[in-house]
């Protein structure tokens, strides 16, 4: 049953990937296919990070309708984008290169997470929900600061900021992709080493401690890995963690196993299917007139309502 389901998912993933890569190529396959392959690599990598970080985040918060975005990562990212446009106006892109922007975004988001964790975890036995609450409130503060900046800047410059409000795979910088890929891959690799401990955590915090889990340390490592993955994915393609709630829950429904190595694999595959499928629609059906964020938000929103309606499972 488990193997069969995973095979089905892998099958669908491979077909979608092939369809995306090889159909409707047009007259210039030598140009189009490598470009699509790059985009594909980015999508697969990010889908895996989102899959991992969402499932792990839901385990440590013991809640199936949260994603790491509740911690305010994306709010930090957008505030930073609004702030540089506020500072430099229409000269933004001459002053700050894409690489520098990426680097600063990652450092800011990761730094934000570190400060949050260290400030709160210095005192032992802080409840994870307290951490979420602080993240949520700071996120709201950053969002209103962003709104303020957007109000002050020139409406034309506002368009620059707006670009960052939606995730996009259309123009990915290949240099950045290389570095991100290495960082995400390493963090995922380290991440696989704690999966068996996270399985025990599903029995509840107390039960996990009595079975020999160092709860505090496990939560800290998980949150650090999540911070790395979310910062890099967000800096690379924009706010996309909303995808997490969708793919994590699809995986719980479809994969008949509680083990993290199975649910995370499932979530990652669902992620690839949705992102690549969505991107295919954006490119060919909507002719780039919409963004993948809107498509996935639409699907995700419908699914979220469905989840709420059958809330006995939450």
């Amino acid at each position: 049953m488990l193997k069969k389901r995973i095979f089905i998912l892998v099958g669908i993933t491979i077909s979608i990937v092939l369809v995306y890569l090889l159909t409707l190529v047009g007259n210039n396959p030598d140009y189009v296919i490598p470009k699509r392959a790059t985009r594909l690599a980015a999508m697969a990598l990010i889908a895996c990070s989102i899959g991992y970080s969402s499932v792990v985040f839901q385990t440590i918060t013991n809640n199936r309708i949260l994603t790491p975005s509740i911690m305010g990562f994306e709010a930090v990212f957008i505030l930073f984008q609004a702030f540089i446009v506020f500072l430099y106006g229409d000269k933004t892109f001459q002053v700050i290169e894409q690489q520098t922007n990426f680097l600063f975004s990652v450092v800011l988001m990761f730094g934000f997470a570190l400060i949050l964790y260290f400030a709160l975890f210095r005192k032992r036995q802080v409840h994870v929900y307290f951490l979420l609450l602080v993240g949520l409130i700071l996120g709201a503060v950053f969002k209103s600061m962003t709104s303020f900046l957007e109000l002050v800047i020139d409406p034309n410059e506002f368009a620059f900021v707006q670009r960052y409000l939606f995730a996009s795979f259309n123009n990915i910088n290949t240099n950045l992709l290389g570095i991100s890929a290495i960082a995400l891959f390493i963090s995922l690799l380290i991440g696989t080493r704690i999966l068996h401990k996270l399985d025990v955590l599903l029995l509840g915090k107390e039960q996990a401690i009595t079975l020999g889990i160092n709860y505090q340390r496990l939560v800290q490592i998980s949150l650090l890995l999540i911070a790395i993955q979310v910062s890099i994915s967000t800096a690379l393609v924009g706010p996309i963690t909303f995808l997490g709630i969708l793919i994590a829950n699809l995986s719980y429904e479809f994969i008949p196993s509680y083990k993290h190595r199975h649910t995370i694999l499932g979530a990652s595959l669902f992620g690839i299917i949705l992102v690549v499928g969505g991107q295919y629609l954006v490119e060919h059906l909507f002719n780039m007139n919409t963004t993948i964020s809107i498509l996935i938000n639409f699907v995700g929103g419908v699914y979220f309502i469905f989840l709420l309606l059958k809330s006995r499972r939450l």
């Binding site: 068996h196 029995l203 020999g212 709860y215």
Partner: protein, 253 residues
């Protein structure tokens, strides 16, 4: 042997443990009794490293428990809490197998692991529901599944917070007999919170009576089951009846 010295714990401004001292003898069944809010559950939580004490020291075979890693601690002491819940769909045998986590750390189960899991399942008479999902079971069956997990963990010290919750009389008696056998045959120390005073009186070797965050009375069962002491603990009148060499408490008036 577990020794607790001068244990203090506050929740906010509300003190729960007020300089509690006790020495739990090895290889015995020890019941903790006391009214609601006397600090029984908190005591067990601190001993099992779930929460930190504000002050005081706990030693396990003369070793301070703060110096023992969680990993090693789980092989020496197990604790079953009052209410257990998980939102994942888990089969009974999968839950029981978690009891072996301290030994295999999530890697493949060894022969010994498998054997212990089998034994625990058979012992709790769960064989015919071993492949059922936990959420399809009755409260009592689920409680037995969790107890089987604790058995599979196979530790020298077993702490149980109201293990008879949800169990009918047959299983209550069976579990108390089991715990007693563990103490006698395998020298395990069993510390449990019991609300049924007659169960405590029948099956425990020692009784510790808690009140206001300290151990008010501690002694052999015979020493504690006395109207004067019970009244001091629970603030109601007790009548102790001797029947076939056993003491029964009457308190329904």
């Amino acid at each position: 042997m577990i020794t607790v010295k001068d244990l203090h714990k506050k929740y906010g401004d509300h003190p729960v443990l007020n300089g509690l001292n006790i020495e739990f003898p090895k290889g015995k069944v020890i019941s903790l009794i006391g009214g609601n809010g006397a600090g029984k559950s908190t005591l067990l939580s601190v001993i099992s490293k779930l929460i930190d004490q504000d002050k005081g020291q706990i030693t396990l075979s003369k070793e301070d428990i703060t110096n023992i890693s969680h990993k090693d601690f789980a092989k020496r002491l197990s604790f079953l809490r009052q209410s257990n819940f998980t939102h994942i769909r888990l089969k009974v045998h999968e839950l029981v197998a978690f009891g072996r986590f301290p030994y295999n750390r999530g890697k493949k189960m060894s022969k010994e692991d498998k054997q212990k899991v089998e034994e625990a399942i058979t012992f709790m008479e769960l064989d015919n529901i071993a492949n059922s999902y936990l959420d399809e079971l009755s409260g009592g069956q689920r409680q037995r599944a969790y107890l089987a997990m604790i058995l599979a963990q196979d530790t020298e010290n077993i702490l149980l917070d109201e293990p008879l919750n949800n169990l009918d009389m047959k299983y209550s008696v069976q579990i108390m007999k089991t715990l007693k056998k563990f103490a006698r045959k395998q020298g395990k120390t069993v510390i449990l919170i019991v609300h049924d005073i007659n169960i405590a009186s029948q099956y425990s070797d020692y009784i510790a009576a808690l009140k206001d965050g300290v151990v008010q009375h501690f002694g052999t069962t015979d020493e504690i089951i006395k109207p004067r002491i019970l009244k001091d603990i629970f603030d109601i009148d007790f009548e102790v009846i001797l029947n076939r060499g056993c003491k029964f408490c009457l308190y329904y008036n």
